[in-house]
């Protein structure tokens, strides 16, 4: 990283970037790129798309830097852009999945999901895989709030700022995310013992 900026305040660096200083923008990208990439990785759960989406986040950052008013911390603002891009991506994927599922069903009407409920033991699957799968099934709004809490360690108030929602809403989204996870994991009866 550029040493010239290490001694500067973040506000000063952002101001330089706003004024078109490319080195200042590079400093911001390199400071947050891995944080952004991991947040995307956790929310989307697909490593193959992380690099492209991280790139998209910083392009949006530089293009809308003029609108950044220093009212919130820079990372809050960057995280908000990241979450919005992730939610767009999830919706895009859901739409295309809905198409492909309806295609399959129209071609083969018998291919319906089975309702048989076989209790699985943890040995059948890696524990991490089970948890990751359960998290991936959460509605994006709940999942995002939970990840900002458990992975980013953000307090409720910061999560509220990133997601532009009330603290009470953050509280209930995280609570519901945990309740849903517990339900998903019920079939692995010894996991939470």
């Amino acid at each position: 990283m550029n040493k010239q900026f290490e001694t500067l305040d973040e506000v000063e660096i952002v101001q330089l970037a706003k004024d078109g200083d490319e080195k200042a923008f590079e400093f911001i990208v390199k400071k947050y790129q891995n944080k952004v990439a991991n947040l995307i990785f956790k929310i989307i759960g697909d490593a193959s798309i992380v690099e492209d989406l991280t790139q998209e986040v910083f392009l949006r950052v530089i293009e809308s830097l003029k609108e950044y008013k220093f009212g919130s911390a820079l990372y809050t603002w960057i995280y908000r852009i990241t979450v919005n891009i992730c939610i767009d991506e999830i919706r895009r994927r859901q739409r295309s999945r809905a198409y492909s599922l309806s295609d399959v069903l129209s071609q083969n009407p018998k291919a319906e999901p089975s309702h048989s409920h076989v209790e699985k033991t943890v040995e059948q699957k890696e524990m991490r895989e089970i948890i990751e799968e359960a998290i991936s099934k959460l509605p994006p709004e709940y999942k995002t709030a939970l990840i900002l809490r458990e992975f980013e360690d953000l307090p409720y108030e910061e999560i509220a700022r990133v997601l532009k929602i009330r603290v009470g809403t953050v509280k209930s989204r995280i609570f519901r995310a945990r309740k849903l996870l517990a339900e998903h994991l019920k079939e692995y009866k010894d996991l939470l013992k």
């Binding site: 790139q55 458990e150 992975f151 409720y156 945990r178 939470l192």
Partner: protein, 150 residues
């Protein structure tokens, strides 16, 4: 407090965000299996999320730079104009005011000439109607009448 009421507080307690009833929740977790599970779930989720992380390629910034240049070169002229819309508006207003000013000044001077011809100076009318063919007496009369008006 019963489980139904307390379970919402457990999630807040787990996150260190609970401000009241902390002891109550602590005691409840010791005796309630469902709430204790929520606590274990929190640890598992945390461990899982933190376990597997990634790093971006060292060329990410170079790629962003290239993309930025590409986007800038593709930007149509209209975007460029919109980018300067404020400045453009100021310039247009200035041009408009300037034209308006010129129009006002020129119309005012033409009124003056008209007034002079029609009412203010009958001597000029006389000169015009005579077609420039004035006698010495006419000139003397006009000079005297102009002097009186002043």
């Amino acid at each position: 407090m019963r489980h139904a009421k307390i379970k919402k507080l457990v999630s807040e307690y787990i996150d260190g965000e609970l401000k009241n009833n902390i002891e109550l929740v602590k005691e409840h977790i010791k005796t309630c299996e469902e709430c204790a599970q929520l606590f274990r779930l929190h640890s598992l989720v945390r461990e899982t999320l933190k376990e597997n992380t990634i790093e971006v390629s060292p060329y990410l910034f170079t790629r962003i730079q290239a993309k930025l240049k590409e986007r800038k070169s593709q930007q149509p002229l209209w975007d460029y104009i919109i980018g300067f819309s404020k400045e453009l508006a100021v310039v247009l207003i200035l041009i408009f005011m300037l034209l308006l000013g010129i129009e006002l000044i020129s119309s005012r001077s033409s009124v003056k000439i008209e007034e002079a011809i029609l009412s203010e100076s009958p001597s000029i009318q006389k000169v015009i109607s005579s077609g420039g063919d004035l006698t010495k007496d006419d000139v003397l009369e006009l000079t005297l009448s102009n002097g009186k008006r002043k």
